[in-house]
């Protein structure tokens, strides 16, 4: 009989970070989708940012370990693909943490993904300038692109709009 509540699970998962973006939790990142706890089972649904995210298996493993540490019963960690992950899900607070980490986040596209990719631009994480250009639509991980700030003359990384 599990005595753990869903809120306690959410709170515990809030201590797990993406190993490649250690400044926000996987809850803030939007990877954790649902938590369901009943007498027999503890089911957590998670979703990848990009399909090929190399940190995804590590995150799934961390979730499972965390649930077992808490003494949860009938632990099951499931992958869901729908709705597909979106950069729009990042809260203002998460965006600020990422910016301080040096990772720019594109403005919310609200469904106009093609427009956001076309614009290919995010504000500079160092000086805040919008006078930036994308130098490579691909980066060091599937979720990142590379930009350059024409005001402070710094290259930077940004999340790709998705």
């Amino acid at each position: 009989m599990s005595e753990i509540t869903e809120n306690e699970v959410w709170e515990a998962l809030g201590s797990i970070t993406d190993p490649e973006i250690p400044v926000i939790s996987i809850v803030e990142l939007g990877v954790v989708r649902t938590v369901r706890v009943d007498a027999e089972r503890t089911v957590v649904e998670i979703t990848p940012t990009f399909s090929a995210c190399p940190a995804y298996q590590a995150m799934a493993g961390s979730v499972e370990r965390k649930l077992r540490e808490m003494g949860a019963t009938g632990v099951e960690v499931r992958t869901v693909l729908h709705p597909p992950w979106s950069t729009d899900w990042l809260s203002d607070e998460a965006r600020e943490k990422l910016r301080r980490f040096g990772l720019a986040v594109p403005d919310r596209h609200q469904g106009n993904l093609e427009g956001a990719i076309e614009a290919g631009q995010a504000a500079c994480p160092y000086c805040g300038s919008s006078n930036t250009r994308q130098t490579n639509p691909f980066g060091c991980t599937p979720c990142r692109a590379m930009g350059f700030c024409q005001d402070c003359r710094q290259p930077f990384e940004q999340l790709k709009p998705l």
Partner: protein, 255 residues
């Protein structure tokens, strides 16, 4: 619907998913051969990413296949013989020069754009949801390879002639892309999978237009009929051997 009506339908859907997964896997492997060797650093990064994305998409289809048949993706990838692979011949051809690589990726990306959009309409929810997920990410590939098509096709005399040579080599393989496996028609009737011939004709119209804008002309010759998916060129075997080498050294190792 979240489950398929009967065993025969399940086997047909599983058969098509294997083709889709194998296409992604083999193309991913070919693109990964550029890692560390691409003409410029930016492209090394871009193609390593594209290869990695395609591997992620392959895994989505293999996982869906596992949910239908119980077949383990790792066993499928590392312990099948070349003749058991169901990928297109187009994706197994050696990586060639840069023109060949970007043109092949462009042809595959344009096909996938239409194919995924149609798969989103599948009545089988797991397929529709996977297609939606993959489709969002694929936009990045198509933008990238379409830009290269234009850049090289309308670049210098040499870049144009290399692109034309790549097209002459690839075009004979193009019609296999919409060849349907046996009894596939049933899946179309039941709105589980899209009509490949219809998608093929839309795709060919699109690429003919865009190739022409890039100063390229498809050759007038081709294969008399599309080969079956279990027929491969001599290039698949060495690729599979290299890909499976480490896994087969220690078959029970955990990764």
């Amino acid at each position: 619907m979240t489950s398929l009506p009967d065993e025969q339908t399940t086997q047909l859907v599983a058969g098509r998913l294997l083709e889709m997964a194998d296409d992604e896997l083999i193309l991913s492997h070919r693109n990964s051969e550029w890692t560390g060797h691409a003409p410029i650093l930016e492209e090394d990064i871009a193609f390593a990413n594209i290869a990695q994305d395609e591997m992620g998409h392959a895994l989505i289809w293999y996982e869906l296949l596992r949910s239908l048949t119980g077949r383990d993706p790792d066993r499928l990838v590392f312990f099948r013989e070349p003749c058991e692979y169901r990928n297109l011949q187009m994706v197994e051809l050696p990586k060639g020069d840069w023109a060949f690589t970007v043109l092949r990726q462009y042809l595959f990306d344009t096909w996938e754009a239409g194919h995924l959009e149609a798969l989103e309409q599948s009545r089988f929810t797991p397929v529709a949801e996977a297609a939606q997920k993959i489709g969002k990410e694929e936009r990045y590939h198509l933008r990238h390879t379409a830009a290269w098509l234009c850049r090289l096709g309308r670049g210098t005399e040499e870049s144009n002639s290399r692109m034309q040579a790549a097209l002459d080599q690839l075009w004979p393989f193009h019609s296999q892309i919409w060849a349907a496996p046996p009894d596939y028609e049933r899946l179309v009737t039941e709105s589980l999978m899209p009509d490949l011939a219809r998608l093929g004709s839309l795709w060919e119209d699109r690429v003919r237009t865009e190739l022409s804008e890039a100063g390229l002309t498809p050759p007038g010759f081709g294969q008399p009929s599309a080969p079956l998916r279990d027929e491969h060129t001599e290039h698949l075997q060495p690729l599979i051997e290299e890909m499976q080498q480490v896994a087969r050294l220690e078959t029970e190792a955990g990764w």
